[in-house]
């Protein structure tokens, strides 16, 4: 009897690991969505008010914090504030966003894309600047949609493999 209970625990453990992997996948999609929204809102401000990037980041950060996203909101607010106090965009963005994405589940190329944002903020007119920032939003949205499409299938597969692996391991241990 105890052996069967042990097998159930092993199977439950591996299923739990599978669920964790699925949740991480969901969190990555949510983070991509947040970053896409962020770039979209920056692009909107660029074309509508032509406000400087420091002011945009500070205000956007405040709004995001109010809506409960303290991590990204706080990061943007800090970048905006330090920019206003004379810091450099490239250095600040790399430092703060790297820290924000340190524990994130984004892929390396997605992180690199986010970190390359300051390199595109040098267009002399709002129209082209908006297009450049929108390209970031578009890239994030594409990544998000691709991840979302694969999510259900990958989740099913993950759960199946984890559960089967757990049962197999349990049976081997019996």
């Amino acid at each position: 009897m105890l052996k069967w209970i042990g097998l159930c625990f092993v199977a439950a453990g591996t299923a739990g690991t599978g669920m964790r992997i699925c949740l991480d996948r969901k969190a990555r999609i949510a983070q991509l969505a947040r970053l896409g929204q962020m770039f979209g809102r920056i692009a909107g401000e660029v074309s509508y008010s032509r406000t400087g990037i420091s002011e945009i980041l500070e205000e956007l950060g405040e709004k995001m914090k109010r809506s409960g996203d303290f991590s990204l909101g706080g990061t943007l607010e800090a970048i905006g504030r330090e920019l206003r106090n004379g810091g450099g965009l490239t250095e600040l963005w790399r430092e703060k966003m790297s820290a924000y994405m340190e524990r994130s589940l984004l892929r390396r190329e997605e992180k690199e894309l986010v970190l390359s944002f300051p390199e595109t903020v040098d267009f002399p007119d709002a129209q082209r600047q908006r297009t450049a920032v929108e390209a970031f939003a578009g890239a994030m949205d594409r990544e998000k949609e691709a991840a979302r499409k694969k999510e259900a299938e990958e989740n099913r597969m993950t759960m199946a493999v984890c559960l089967a692996g757990g049962i197999l391991a349990g049976l081997l241990l019996l």
Binding site: V46, R50, T51, G52, I53, S54, E55, L83, R84, N85, G86, G87, G88, L89, E91, P118, V121, D122, F123, P124, D125, A126, R128, Q129
Partner: protein, 359 residues
């Protein structure tokens, strides 16, 4: 000759200014907290114009900010600091010298980095200003730019790229500078429509700023009245996020970064100002807006680039203003030995009322 110690004690801000409001600069102790804060603000205004990696080189310039008038940056040329007592050249370590020979030349990429930094890494946000040949930096600092002009389809200036020169004009608050002019600015209990005229660099904007403050806060002649300021280049008020960084008085409303002609109309319709102040009158639209404001019963305080009062009285472009004798006071400003003077004060007919008043 080295100039890293900085001067400070002789600034105009130590004077009494004639307002009916207690002012921090009236205090006898020149090193009180408010003065220290002013000094720090002024130094920061200069220091923060430059990217972090260059700041050490501008330390001496920042310390001497009270004497500093302009910073001239040109690609492949030495940096020139135009001080109250002439030109100085910073060396690699930021020490100021009279000798241009030892001064390092500014690299093009350094100049580009400075332009980007001054624009707050948002060149697009400065598009309109760059089209007009300047960038408004934080703290009311106006930066003139020159470089390769990009023309639009109709031959209009679209933008400037490959910036080759910058002229950083350091603004100063000279509280009390207009105190001695006040008696000439009033007729009975009414503020005269006043035009300040001078060539560049003779203190028009600084003086106008102080007149606005005195009119707004009230002075020995009249209690304070509402003043509307249309600050097209953010130079008068030094606005940041809509709030003036310079003291323009307690009854002053500022329309920041707004074209003068539109701004005057907007203020008249919505803010009921007793006086409207604008810097650097220019086109026909500005003239029409001034006439409209005066017809609405509002006093107008304005400045104009010219080298003499005659240039104003004779110029065709200002004929409409002269016909109606809109400006009841025309004040010509000048500079001698680093000090500013009201060289001539004329009435609307062009008659000389007074001259040689220090301000």
């Amino acid at each position: 000759m080295d100039r890293t110690d900085g001067k400070d004690g002789t600034d105009r801000t130590d004077r009494k200014d004639g307002t009916d409001r207690p002012d921090r600069t009236d205090r006898k102790d020149g090193t009180d907290r408010a003065d220290r804060r002013d000094r720090t603000d002024g130094m920061d205004r200069i220091r923060l114009l430059f990217p972090e990696s260059f700041r050490e080189r501008w330390k001496a310039a920042a310390i001497s900010w009270q004497d500093l008038r302009e910073i001239r940056l040109r690609a492949r040329q030495p940096v020139i600091l135009l001080m109250r007592d002439g030109e100085w050249y910073p060396d690699e370590k930021g020490r100021l010298n009279r000798d241009a020979g030892n001064a390092p030349r500014l690299q093009k990429k350094e100049l580009d980095a400075i332009v980007k930094h001054i624009c707050g890494y948002s060149l697009y946000a400065c598009e309109e200003e760059m089209r007009r040949g300047y960038i408004s930096a934080a703290g009311g600092v106006r930066v003139g730019i020159a470089g390769e002009v990009i023309l639009g389809p109709e031959g209009t200036v679209r933008n400037i790229r490959h910036v080759g020169s910058l002229n950083i004009r350091v603004p100063h608050e000279a509280k009390g500078a207009a105190g001695q002019l006040l008696p000439w600015l009033y007729e009975g209990s009414r503020l005269c429509n006043t035009l300040l005229i001078s060539p560049p660099g003779c203190g028009k904007t600084t003086l106008l700023r102080d007149i606005i403050r005195l009119v707004s806060d009230g002075n020995a002649r009249l209690p304070g009245q509402t003043v509307g300021v249309v600050d097209e280049r953010s130079e008068l008020s030094g606005c940041f996020q809509g709030i003036p960084e310079f003291d323009l008085g307690s009854r002053t409303d500022v329309l920041d970064a707004c074209p003068k002609a539109y701004g005057m109309m907007m203020l008249l319709r919505s803010m009921s100002p007793g006086a409207i102040a604008v810097d650097e009158l220019g086109g026909a639209e500005d003239i029409r807006a001034v006439l409209y404001a005066v017809h609405c019963g509002c006093s107008v305080l304005a400045t104009l680039h010219a080298d003499s009062c005659e240039a104003f009285f004779r110029k065709e472009a200002y004929a409409a203003l002269q016909q109606e004798k809109v400006f009841e006071r025309v004040i010509l400003l000048g500079k001698k030995d680093g000090h500013f003077f009201a060289v001539q004060i004329r009435n609307g007919d062009g008659r000389l009322l007074e001259g040689g008043i220090p301000c």
